[in-house]
């Protein structure tokens, strides 16, 4: 049975700390491949750090010295700087009338480039986020339309400016009114990526009739819908949509399994090339070191892209407020240090936290750069953006949002450069990245007014 094939090969899952060999991808291809080997698809990933940076530690001194003498924060990226692109001059969304809630806004505007609805601030009502726009376009081609990850539970309790608490903890919105919860448990992510369904290591029998059963349940739910008042109907629609999306996912997995079975019996399928690297190993950490924890989430992102389980991801490396970094030798909250008043000690800590986060991102993209794919590397076909929604956390400024784009975007991005003197906003940046991925937009993304052509290859 196809499902057995998938499950039986995943044999190394037992026990925390075990390495996970996942030798199942040698016969998995890109789902939209035609008869001839396809060009690898472009993948888009976002990784977030709140509270901004210490500017003189982050921005390169000049375009000329970008590759040769990068600033301290970029040190871990040195080996792949020629695959990175930095741009100074991208401004964030002006947050008035929510001036009292800079941290809810830094995260929730990051991928939406849009402010929450002012009148209904207590409800989630913002805009669809860039990652979800991409997922709408390419999500049907993979088992998962997109992957949302986070390092901590998304349950920060805070209520400023009367804003819904979800704005503090979410960056991905599948519709203006729906914030997407993120996975925080690496094991659950792994299970989700590869179709295992329960938290026990016993493979739950993936029931071949589940898809059809859901179909019947959906029919019944439509009957129920007719009986309900309008407000209830809207709620139920979310259910109907999400069940349909799960049905699609089940179909995609079945398709994969069929291909895998065929490949096993010698039928050539639309596979990765034999030159592609084997899947990376995932090691789930035993302790609670933040670095190990974040690294495994990054690894899972790499694996998901490598195995083409999804092409779109967002990773909230940490949410605003409340996070501390005992691993770095100090116990105060990240947020408190960012209000450093230009004093050396807290400033140094902000710089250390930034370096720590960039290092996680660097580990991820370096891994991608080491994985062969098609005629190049996985990183060549990715657009990975790391960034923050504030520039200077001390002043809550957002004139020059700090961010790093890594990856070739399938040849669409001109990397290895630091661009200055650019005038653009967060919406323009996201529009540009979506353009590089080939995602057409039928309306401006948030405050966007155009693309930043300087970032792209002609």
């Amino acid at each position: 049975m196809p499902s057995k094939f998938l499950l039986n090969r995943r044999t190394c899952l037992r026990g925390l700390g075990a390495s996970l060999a996942l030798p199942l991808f040698d016969c998995m291809g890109w789902a939209d491949a035609g008869p001839k080997p396809a060009k690898p698809p472009v993948r888009l990933g976002f990784m977030y750090m709140p509270h901004g940076v210490v500017m003189d530690q982050f921005w390169p001194k000049s375009p000329e010295t970008f590759l040769t003498a990068p600033p301290p924060a970029l040190e871990p990226l040195k080996p792949v700087l020629n695959r990175c692109l930095m741009v100074k001059g991208i401004s964030g969304v002006p947050i008035a009338p929510f001036n009292g809630a800079p941290h809810a806004l830094e995260l929730s505007t990051w991928l939406t480039a849009k402010l929450p609805n002012v009148t209904h601030r207590n409800k989630i009502d913002i805009g669809i986020s860039a990652d979800q726009i991409a997922a709408n376009y390419v999500g049907h081609l993979t088992a998962l339309p997109s992957l949302e990850l986070a390092t901590m539970p998304q349950t920060h309790k805070e209520n400023q400016e009367g804003l819904n608490e979800g704005y503090y903890t979410h960056c991905s919105f599948s519709s203006p009114k729906q914030a997407l919860p993120a996975e925080i448990n690496p094991r659950a992510v792994l299970n989700r990526l590869f179709g295992k369904t329960s938290k026990s290591d016993q493979p739950t029998h993936a029931d071949p009739l589940d898809g059809k059963m859901l179909d019947l349940v959906l029919d019944g739910a439509r009957d129920l819908r007719r009986r309900l008042p309008k407000g209830d109907q809207e709620k139920l629609d979310e259910y109907l949509d999400s069940v349909r999306s799960v049905e699609r996912r089940i179909a995609a997995i079945e398709h994969r399994q069929k291909e895998a079975a065929q490949a096993k019996s010698g039928v050539p399928a639309s596979k990765n090339k034999s030159s592609d690297s084997p899947p990376i190993e995932i090691k789930i950490p035993e302790g609670d070191k933040r670095s190990e924890y974040m690294d495994v989430m990054c690894d899972l992102n790499v694996l998901a892209f490598q195995a083409d389980v999804t092409r779109v991801s967002s990773y909230i490396g940490s949410t605003p407020n409340g996070v501390s970094y005992p691993e770095l030798g100090f116990s105060g909250e990240h947020h408190s240090y960012t209000h450093h008043g230009n004093k050396e000690e807290p400033k140094g800590r902000v710089a250390a936290i930034t370096a720590f986060n960039v290092a996680r991102f660097a580990n991820m993209v370096k891994k991608m750069a080491a994985l062969r794919e098609g005629d190049g590397t996985l990183l060549d076909n990715c657009i990975m953006m790391w960034g923050s929604g504030l520039e200077d956390g001390d002043k809550h400024s957002r004139e020059n949002l700090p961010f790093i784009v890594a990856g070739g975007g399938g040849g669409s991005l001109r990397t290895g450069r630091f661009l200055t003197g650019i005038k653009g906003n967060q919406g323009d940046l996201l529009t540009t990245l979506l353009g590089c991925m080939g995602v057409p937009l039928d309306r401006p993304l948030g405050i966007a007014s155009g693309r930043i052509k300087e970032m792209m290859n002609a």
Partner: protein, 644 residues
């Protein structure tokens, strides 16, 4: 794994849990809640004659005229429908700004007199009387993670932890109701896991619970009839109401699907059961009856009421007794309903009221994951975190179970300790061992939530106390005041000479920033309260000196001129403000019970509730009882249906 909690300057006030529905009784508001039309006319007139001119003179140049809507505030729109629920928070903000003199801004041309400010504040408070009688919407909602786990436990006896991998719910209107593909996948996975656990292996003998769920295996030819009986019975339990014929038919189609695929009878029932577990009727709390098309306000049906009640007090599905009363159509009868509230509160499961509401209200839900400076506070072990949480829980529970006055949350002379927690009280000699027990307190600085380590810890930073956080916490969570957020572009503090500052106590340093007029407005109110608790360190131990070595100065003054010099006196002053305390708790608990924020008419409901509560000495059980029998709990507003 990192579970870092977060907490910040303004601790969230509203704890909308998750919920859903509304039930019953009568369509008219009870006497205490009804508002005479005369009053409404009067208020309307005052509003037109006083509030509108005030706004025109002092506010609308920036907030309403010529499309100017600074801060998102548009009085031009608000004065047209002042009682519209959407404007409630805008009115509250305006009121606070005018009262605290943050508005109009200092550089504005005209400033209202003190008397005008006072009148404005008073009149804005009257806007509630313009609200039409309205129980508020009660949209179907999905079960929360906790409710989902408990419900599975009630249905199948599985460990509620089976839902552990679901994403945590974020409270807040609008969010909890949403449903993402990730959740759907997990619901399917959990359904599989539950059935794997409770049903026998494919060809093995049936488990006990399987026998109970499935009954006897029928003879050939009778399978579909037998399956129909199972479908009806199991759906009644899982949907918490009788299934309609169509719903039973849907389940039978799933059974047919399994049979057509040559599954055995038990395996076919398994698939059918799984269909129940991923049905919206299970995952959401749905009404049993179709709403008549011409009604816009309807009472909850008894099934919905049973669910609303049991998810409110137990965080799980109705038990047999509640279900039977719903079947008989008796639950909405006032005496029956009151009797059930008493019974549910007396049951162990009412602990859910603390885990769901109390822990959020008091903020200790974040204790488990809150970061502490490990070097400074090595005693904060998992056992300590648990003990801190349990102290607050048992204390809350004692007030509920003993129907004590809500004032005793602040002012009591007992607490609950074990050997782990006792050292924080200096009672390590008398209290030992792991068991939590009730302890009578001699020290009046303790006793009540203001002196509890769990509360004091979550309102601190990992390494030190925060008088500001504590001040905000007391004002917002205990007294229910609205504190405006810090203004934008706060000038940086502490540009002072480091050497000069080094020897100051935290209080002295914090007071420095009150010299800045922008900050002073709010901080002169917030900080003194926090200073009043400075004798308690960041994990709630008593101290006489702060980290700088300087003596603690716990003197301060609350708005209104009441002075205090110790935590004990602060506690006494706060406890003396019964009305505010009770009103705050009432509003928060009502919002939790209704699973939504309170809006215009709800304030009238709260007014009525407060009167009856005061007559009954603010008893905690009385409060719960009043909420369950209140108009918005028993009724719901529905949008006009577009289909019958």
């Amino acid at each position: 794994m990192f579970l870092t909690p977060n907490f910040r300057l303004v601790v969230s006030a509203i704890i909308v849990p998750i919920a859903s529905f509304v039930p019953l009784l009568s369509l008219t508001a009870s006497a205490g809640e009804a508002q005479p039309d005369v009053r409404r006319t009067e208020v309307n007139e005052t509003f037109r004659k006083k509030v509108v001119p005030f706004l025109k003179t002092y506010c609308m140049d920036c907030h309403g005229n010529n499309n100017k809507r600074k801060g998102g505030i548009d009085f031009a729109k608000m004065v047209q429908r002042p009682a519209d629920g959407r404007f409630r928070s805008a009115w509250q903000v305006s009121l606070a700004q005018v009262r605290e003199r943050s508005m109009p801004p200092e550089d504005a041309g005209k400033q209202p007199t003190d008397a005008e400010r006072r009148e404005f504040v008073e009149w804005v408070g009257m806007i509630k009387y313009l609200s039409p009688v309205d129980p508020g919407p009660f949209v179907i909602r999905r079960l929360t993670k906790v409710e989902f786990g408990n419900t599975l436990n009630d249905l199948f006896g599985v460990d509620p932890a089976i839902v552990a991998e679901l994403p945590d719910d974020v409270p807040g209107e609008g969010y909890l109701n949403t449903f993402s593909p990730l959740q759907t996948e997990q619901y399917l996975a959990i359904a599989n896991a539950v059935l794997d656990r409770v049903l026998g292996p494919k060809d093995g003998p049936p488990t006990e619970i399987q026998k109970k769920l499935f009954g006897e295996t029928p003879q050939d030819g009778k399978a579909r009839d037998a399956a129909k009986t199972v479908a009806r019975t199991q759906a009644r339990r899982a949907f918490r109401r009788p299934a309609t014929d169509e719903e039973v038919e849907t389940l039978l189609r799933v059974f047919d699907l399994a049979q057509a695929n040559k599954l055995t009878y038990p395996a076919s029932l398994r698939l059918m059961l799984k269909a129940i577990l991923v049905s919206p009727q299970f995952l959401f709390i749905t009404p049993a009856k179709v709403v008549e098309a011409d009604k816009s306000i309807v009472p909850l049906d008894d099934y919905q009421l049973a669910s609303r009640l049991s998810y409110f007090l137990w965080a799980t599905m109705p038990d047999t007794e509640l279900a039977d009363l719903a079947d008989k159509g008796k639950l909405h009868e006032p005496e029956v309903l009151r009797g059930q509230v008493k019974r549910l509160l007396a049951d162990r499961r009412s602990r859910a009221l603390f885990d769901g509401f109390g822990s959020q209200w008091l903020g200790v839900g974040t204790l488990k994951a809150k970061p502490f400076d490990a070097k400074k506070f090595p005693q904060v072990t998992p056992a300590m975190r648990t003990a801190m949480y349990d102290e607050v829980r048992l204390f809350f529970d004692s007030i509920v179970q003993e129907n004590r006055s809500v004032v005793s949350f602040v002012d009591s002379d007992y607490t609950f300790l074990n050997g782990t927690l006792a050292p924080l009280y200096g009672l390590e000699k008398t209290v030992t061992g792991p068991e939590m027990r009730r302890v009578k307190l001699a020290d009046a600085n303790r006793g009540g939530i203001l002196g509890m380590p769990g509360v004091l810890a979550v309102t601190s930073f990992p390494e030190r106390t925060s008088p500001v956080k504590r001040g905000v916490w007391v004002l917002e969570q205990v007294l229910g005041q609205h504190i405006p957020p810090a203004p934008a572009n706060v000038p940086t503090l502490e540009k002072q000479n480091q050497k000069q500052v080094a020897n100051l106590t935290l209080r002295q340093r914090t007071e420095l920033h009150r010299k800045n007029p922008t900050c002073a407005n709010c901080h002169k109110v917030l900080d003194p309260i926090g200073f009043g608790l400075e004798n308690f360190d960041a994990i709630g131990r008593w101290r006489d000196k702060d980290d700088s070595g300087g003596p603690i100065d716990a003197a301060g003054e609350l708005p209104g001129g009441k002075q205090f010099s110790s935590p004990k006196e602060l506690k006494g002053i706060v406890a003396g403000r019964k009305e505010e305390l009770a009103r705050n708790l009432t509003e928060k608990l009502l919002a939790y019970a209704l699973c939504r924020q309170l809006e215009g008419y709800d304030e009238i409901v709260v007014d009525g509730l407060m009167e009856r509560l005061a007559r009954d000495k603010y008893g905690m059980q009385t409060l719960v009882m009043e909420i369950v029998t209140s108009y918005p709990f028993l009724n719901r507003q529905v949008a006009i249906t577009n289909a019958k």
